[in-house]
Amino acid sequence: MRILLQVHSLDQIKTFQDPLVDYVLRDPFFSYKHPSLQTKEDFLEILKDTLLSHHKTYIEINGFIEESDLIGLESWLKELLTYPIQGFYFADLAVLMILKSLNYQGETIYSPETILTNTLEIKTLLALVDRLVISKELTLEEIVKISKTFPQRIEMFGAGHLQMSVSRRPLLSSYLQEIGLSKEVINKTDYRIRELKRKEMMPILEESKTFCVFTQDILNPLEELPVLNQSEIYGIQLDDLFIDKKDAQNFFQLIIDQVKETDLHQIKSFYKINKLPLFKGYFERKTNLRQEAI
């Protein structure tokens, strides 16, 4: 099982040198969830470093591509293809179409955040791309079934705050305008929302073209790793967005160690000192309750 690390800074490359780790960089122009990678220069600097490290390097383009951006996207992909990139993640199939038109031969991974929830759908899409990142709202049982059906062709979000929504609207800026507050909010990771009857403080992030809400808690796959490993899943993605860098480093390193060799004692020791708000995501939570069942 590969570890697919979302790279937000040069430090991460220095920290995670394990051969199990591949790097994923979100592009600065057509993606979201990259608050610290804003300029082409920053992005290319990190890209060059990841390539020099001899780890596989992937580019993720996770935004919905607007019609007026198609020409710019094509030209950006052409430039990226001058680098020895291992593959591309994308959420919009326009990226795949353009890559094909450029005669791209590398790996293609479709990652739409949701909507990949059953073997029928996945079989259909795997005829068109190399791998898929399945939906987050799947139970462990569902993940294992899908992964075993398509060995080494499935990836999943493995650790970090789960993204719950993505909007095209600048919802944070709009609200601040509504209440008469003037603040620079774009790419800032300091904001949280709490539903008035609940305790959870959910991170939010407004970027140039999106507004996202994330879970308060951080997905923790530590105890599920042996099952996931056996299911022949290709890899799990780790993303330290909103997490203290040092805490993320310890947590992710433990995940990497556990992928190589399960050591329950090490996990227990980690839990004793851990202060991160960890949870099991949807591993054991079925979300099929419909409104009429409530």
């Binding site: 919905f64 199939l93 929830t117 789960l162 609200y175 979300t287 099929n288």
Partner: protein, 399 residues
């Protein structure tokens, strides 16, 4: 200007018939399975057949949503359901799944396959991809402006459909799991709890910065686009879609009729300010929800959001539905209060609304009453104008 399809929603057979009668060219409905609005559906296969037959008898079309993002456990019976829909001659299915789209094609079924807005299609390259898979039509993402819709639709890669009225997801459709996380109700399987519309506290570096009396929320105003219909017709879009499979028959009648009248007036070059103003009033009073023009003119800002739990002035113009007509006596199933002496009107599909003053009002047993105030009660009214079964009686009010 070219002809354009007006596509309306319906949650049951009665509402489907209302939508057709009030001017929809096509109606979309969901069955009890595989549909995102299964909760709103009363359509057994027999009802779907009756709706399809009704549509075809009027030269119109019936589309069926098969747009659930299915998990493994939901897939049983899918193939036979797709076959059943073919046997009852529905005109199209609306899917959010490429697997279901391909399955329908492999089964050589005769209906069209339309891609749902759940796939958030925002550009022509993605449309080329879907065309290569044999898709017949795409419902564009709600996040597009008029120019983009025009650019994409003019490419004629695939026929396009856009939403023109009704509720809006604030997030990209199909990409939101707020409801899953906060209530265990799967939005992509019809259980959306609309958590985006709830009130939230906003903090910055752990300090509360939201206002208690005006909390943070993500709730969107509804879409209303009457003033942009002319542009949409010119954009080469083939279908204008109204949202609201859970809405009442009266709501559907009002909204469909308003857009029908406006589209026809535009195509016949009889549209004028007076008609426009009248239709805007109709649209605004059909339901007590704030509206705006979505992304069509500009990226929504605070004016596209519903920030405070506004207690809108409740408009209860709708009095009831006509069940039976005998001479000038009309049996009405009541929905909202009515009293003698009120200025009312008959709202029907094919005529101008005729006004009358309510001068006689009886309960079901024939007792003369001054005021009726029990919802769902049967009332007998004497109405001095032409009335048909299925017409709606409403208070003239501000209309």
């Amino acid at each position: 200007m070219s002809q354009i399809e007006l596509l309306a929603p319906a949650g049951d057979l009665q509402r489907a018939k209302v939508a057709f009668l009030y001017g929809a060219d096509a109606v979309y409905v969901g069955g009890k399975r595989f549909s995102l609005r299964a909760r709103a559906s009363n359509f057994e296969i027999g009802d779907l057949k009756e709706a399809a037959d009704f549509a075809h008898s009027m030269g119109k079309k019936l589309f069926v949503t098969v747009n659930m993002i299915a998990h493994e456990e939901d897939l049983d019976g899918l193939e036979s359901y797709l076959k059943e829909l073919n046997e009852i001659h529905v005109d199209a299915i609306i899917v959010a799944s490429l697997a279901i789209a391909q399955l329908a094609q492999q089964m050589n079924l005769s209906y069209e396959v339309h891609l749902s807005t759940q796939l958030s299609i925002t550009n022509s390259k993605a449309m080329e991809f879907y065309k290569s898979l044999g898709i017949d039509r795409v419902v564009l993402a709600r996040e597009l402006d008029l120019q983009t819709i025009t650019d994409i639709s003019s490419n004629t890669i695939l026929p396009t459909e856009v939403f023109i009225h009704g509720g809006m997801c604030v997030n990209y459709s199909g990409r939101c799991t707020l409801s899953n996380d906060m209530t265990l109700r799967d939005a992509n399987r019809g259980g959306c709890a609309q958590s985006c519309r709830w009130a939230y506290e906003l903090t910055e570096n752990d300090q509360v910065i939201s206002k208690q009396e005006d909390p943070f929320t993500m709730g969107s105003k509804d879409l209303q686009t009457l003033d942009l219909i002319e542009n949409l017709i010119q954009s080469k879009v083939v279908s204008l879609k109204i949202e609201g499979r859970m809405k009442s028959a009266y709501y559907i009648a009002v909204i469909v009729k308003a857009y029908r009248l406006w589209i026809d007036a535009l195509l016949n070059k009889t549209a004028d300010q007076s008609l426009r103003d009248q239709l805007i009033k109709e649209l605004n009073q059909a339901e007590n929800r704030s509206t705006f023009d979505g992304f069509l003119n500009a990226l929504p800002n605070r004016n596209g959001q519903v920030y405070v739990n506004q207690e809108e002035a409740v408009v209860q113009n709708f009095i009831g539905t006509v069940l039976k007509v005998k001479d000038d006596e009309v049996l009405v199933e009541m929905r909202n209060n009515v009293k003698l002496g009120e200025l009312c009107e008959v709202f029907g599909p094919s005529k101008l609304n005729e006004s009358f003053i309510l001068t006689s009002l009886y309960d079901e047993k024939g007792n003369l009453i001054q005021t009726a105030n029990k919802p769902m009660a049967k009332l007998i009214m004497k109405i001095p104008c032409v009335v048909h079964v299925g017409d709606f009686i409403r208070r003239k009010g501000n209309l």
